[in-house]
Symmetry: C2
Subunit: 394 residues, 2 copies
């Protein structure tokens, strides 16, 4: 098939989009779906077969004569490395090209050790994970990276991240790409969790707001089916919206009255501590709620109400059909959700809340890595990128 | 060309998208841009020529031999009727398929007269406008309608519009479509103004928030280059977001502290009236500011600051690169913009405001009709719609 690169395979990437739902199709069905001529479809299918992005998938029922071959997207063609960097841990996963998880590894590692140490570990253990599933590095399609701070998505560089000393402006995409030799996409942890929740728990929802309530508070916005990052990739920054009361709470950003300074896991823990109850983190607060501590339940519900006040604004602006509440404080369960629901349904106009559901996160610990995989797969399987790959791989 | 409907012209609509920028191209250039074969391109160009959506546009420079013909989008092929219904006036325009205005008409008409009266006038005068430019009704490609209240865009029906008695749930699209025999798209006035400002004043901006400050306050959100309406078409509802102070202002929606109850043209007029200065509308407030009234200037600037508080939240959530301030109170000019800027730049995080510009509207009175035209043209020139049209028109 070395002749493939000599013929025009532009358009193979567009054809592949019709197969990404995983359903097998014949050449005739692909011609009908795309409006392309049969010879064009046959040429592009051949190119995709040569690249292994598509494989034969049995025979369709014949309508007389030899039964036609069916073709399907081959998600196993190439692995993807997904990286979810938290404040104190890193989770790795290898996935296929449909973001299905093949292998994972998680390690306690402080992000404050800096990008060379953390990304060095990622690169080393990424190679090892590939070896455990018997795939050569040359097959790696891309790397998706989530970081616990603001990221300029277009350049793959962190921007003034508060808890990531040494990372400001670091060329994460360039550093990882140079070692692993493939496409690298970088975004903040909240956006990749939003993508992961969407993919694993809410694939049919076109307008989704994912809210992470943990040490800080942030959100990822899915609108018309796609993540919206805004002009600088800073969209979804719920944590520093001013709450309509409590304007004496000083936030680490320098402003007063920010949501994060009042209703985050850290803020609730501090308030419990001030009330003489030992709590220093979201995790401690969740443990207290689970143990039945009435003050903890009361304060978590109050935090939910305060988050609800800001979410009422977000509902007015974005009109989502689902709000997903995740992050460590969300493990406190009912008191947080009840507080959020109470205020959102009271404050928002009927049209915007008619079909609005406010639900707990569903994807668990894998949301971040699956979202990181989804993010880079969208780049790797974009029509132009597929055309370039197919031209070389044939 | 009656044979056109017998051959497969699916894909003509996709080909047309490559020509919508207005640049002429040869068949070879179109083949290169689309990756389609030359015979496929030739067939689709023929179908588009037969439909008149594309026309021959002179000859390209020859590289030897007969110079190849160039083809260009023919925006004049069919007219579009654009309708901007305000509280007390209706503006009509005929445009071409690039939203270029061919003729306009404006009349004082109270929306409270109800849908049959108002839309009856629109239908009658729409026909007359077509006659003035010598185009038969059969050529009309579509009608875009903007209404001064909430609209369920998917069905083209108003939803509990506060200032539109008799319009709730009325099938605007069905009523107009039955009379004029073409596609009808309906949305609220703020969304169509956002589309019009984007088209006429800020076409290169991918992330734009248009804010209308008039009797009420609303916004239209353009993100990644397209209007985002949310799940029920209710996105952008700035006016009923609660302001972080002034929580004793009762809003017509029944909540307290809504932005609209504090900072709209109506609210500023009421405050001036209470201070013994005669003002009952946005227009009165603007006249006072222009006449140099210090209390009016002070109150408009304060309204700008309050709007800025809510816009600071919108900036955190959406990360636009441009905020456009329009609507009748925006004619007050500098005091309003200065108030907005003061608070947005103080409250928002540096990453989100690094390249943010806050600017006055540019499109003037035509924003609504041009936006209404853009809205329906997007439907009429969508690839599938073009394929259907071309199959019949050939």
């Amino acid at each position: 098939m070395s002749c493939v690169s000599l013929i025009n395979v532009d358009g193979a990437g567009t054809l592949l989009q019709h197969l990404r739902d995983g359903m097998p199709r014949t050449r005739s069905e692909l011609a009908a779906a795309t409006g392309l001529g049969r010879s064009t479809v046959a040429q592009r299918v051949d190119a995709l077969l040569a690249s292994r992005l598509v494989g034969a998938a049995g025979e369709a029922t014949s309508t007389g004569g030899r039964p036609p071959t069916q073709f399907a997207f081959n998600a196993a063609a190439r692995p993807v490395l997904a990286v979810d960097v938290g404040a104190t841990h890193v989770r790795l996963a290898l996935t296929d090209l449909a973001a299905g998880v093949l292998a994972t590894e998680v390690v306690d590692l402080d992000v404050g050790l800096g990008p060379e140490v953390v990304l060095g570990w990622v690169i080393e253990h990424g190679r090892q994970l590939l070896a455990t599933v018997d795939r050569p590095l040359s097959e790696l399609a891309g790397v998706g990276v989530g970081l616990p701070g603001p990221v300029e998505h277009a350049t793959g560089r962190p921007t003034n991240p508060p808890i990531m000393p040494g990372w400001d402006g670091f060329d994460v995409a360039g550093f990882v790409g140079a070692e692993l030799g493939c496409a690298v996409a970088v975004d903040n942890d909240v956006n990749i969790m939003a993508l992961g929740e969407h993919a694993l728990g809410f694939a049919a929802v076109d307008h989704l707001l994912f809210v992470k309530v943990a040490t800080g508070i942030g959100s990822g916005i899915i609108s018309d089916g796609a993540l919206r990052r805004g002009a600088q990739g800073a969209a979804g920054d719920l944590g520093h919206i001013q709450v309509p009361h409590d304007v004496d709470a000083l936030c680490r950003c320098g402003n007063i009255g920010c949501l994060e300074a009042i209703a985050s896991g850290a803020a609730v823990a501090a308030r419990l501590q001030a009330a003489g109850i030992n709590a220093t983190s979201s995790r401690d607060v969740v443990a207290l709620v689970r143990a039945g501590s009435v003050p903890a339940m009361r304060m978590v519900r109050e935090a939910g109400r305060t988050i609800g006040e800001v979410l009422a604004s977000a509902v007015s602006l974005l009109n989502p059909s689902v709000i997903v509440i995740g992050g460590s404080l969300s493990q406190a369960g009912d008191p947080l959700l009840a507080g959020v629901r109470e205020v959102v349904y009271r404050r928002s106009l009927p049209l915007a809340t008619a079909d609005l559901r406010i639900l707990p996160a569903r994807a668990g610990d894998l949301a971040g890595v699956v979202g990181a995989a989804v993010m880079v797969i969208e780049q790797v399987l974009a029509p132009d990128a597929v055309d370039r790959y197919v031209a070389v791989a044939g």
